[in-house]
């Protein structure tokens, strides 16, 4: 499990766990669901308009097993796509603790990265909400810049309430810096 891998510090508190906005997964799953229904839709059309196949002189009743085989194969592939989307949605997330930000991100289906950024190293955090639907549903992207090279910057799109998320991170960052000033040994 993830928390065994991350190993939070003894007094480290998880402030928030964030996944992409529900609209992102709903639109993706809607596409997959439409693809899943596609062969059934074709069969429905053929059942309503049986004359469509007259010109081909094709009787589908003779190919029930073949059609079932094709539909089963198609259904497996679309279900796999659906589970891939769900996996991508559920496993990719930000964990904001009072000491760091942990980013679990899928680079490819074979490759998932777990990155950690100490709050005291954060320099800037920006959010943007672009478009009508994101504005309406309050989701957007968040970009954080850390001290050091640009490779350690991180960003994510489709996050819910990016403004609130920015405020939580900003507050956690300020609290962390204050705590370090009071107890410099914590930095080690």
């Amino acid at each position: 499990m993830l928390f065994e891998k991350i190993q939070l510090d003894a007094e480290e508190v998880v402030l928030k766990t964030v996944r992409k906005h529900w609209f992102i997964i709903v639109t993706e799953l809607f596409g997959v669901f439409s693809m899943f229904l596609f062969p059934f839709f074709i069969l429905f059309i053929v059942a309503i308009f049986p004359n469509l196949l007259d010109s081909l002189n094709l009787n589908l009743a003779h190919y029930t097993a073949l059609i079932s085989f094709a539909i089963a194969g198609w259904s497996i592939l679309t279900l796999m796509s659906g589970f891939m989307i769900w996996t991508h949605y559920y496993l990719d997330h930000w964990i904001i603790t009072d000491r760091r930000i942990i980013l679990v991100d899928q680079v490819a289906f074979f490759n998932r990265n777990v990155s950690m950024f100490r709050l005291e190293r954060l320099q800037d955090i920006k959010f943007s909400i672009d478009g009508v639907i994101p504005t309406f549903l309050n989701f957007g992207s968040l970009k954080a810049e850390t001290a050091g090279n640009s490779e350690s910057n991180f960003s994510s799109t489709g996050l819910p309430d990016p403004r609130g998320l920015q405020a939580i991170i900003q507050k956690a960052m300020d609290d962390r810096i204050s705590a370090i000033h009071m107890h410099p040994e914590e930095l080690i």
Binding site: L58, Y63, S68, F83, T87, Y90, F109
Partner: protein, 76 residues
């Protein structure tokens, strides 16, 4: 009337093509399942969600795969 089972691609008999499709899907399914299982066991935060997801995955896909296998051996 058209008999689509008489179409032969690459000189293979129709039944062999059906079996090839089946083996191809089983291969993809096996690789995908292994990766899915690994990722859910390594990166999920809660065991319960992993169990539900993998349970739903197997209960929806395995019956379809069994149906495909049975049909592939009955289609001539």
């Amino acid at each position: 009337m058209i008999d689509i089972t008489q179409f032969q691609s690459l000189g293979l008999p129709f039944h062999s093509i059906i079996l090839l499709v089946l083996y191809f899907i089983i291969g993809i399914y096996a690789i995908f399942t292994a990766i899915l299982y690994y990722h859910w066991n390594e990166y999920a935060s809660y065991k319960k969600v992993t169990t539900y997801t993998l349970g739903l995955y197997f209960t929806t896909t395995l019956p379809l795969l069994i149906i495909m296998t049975i049909l592939a051996f009955t289609i001539n």
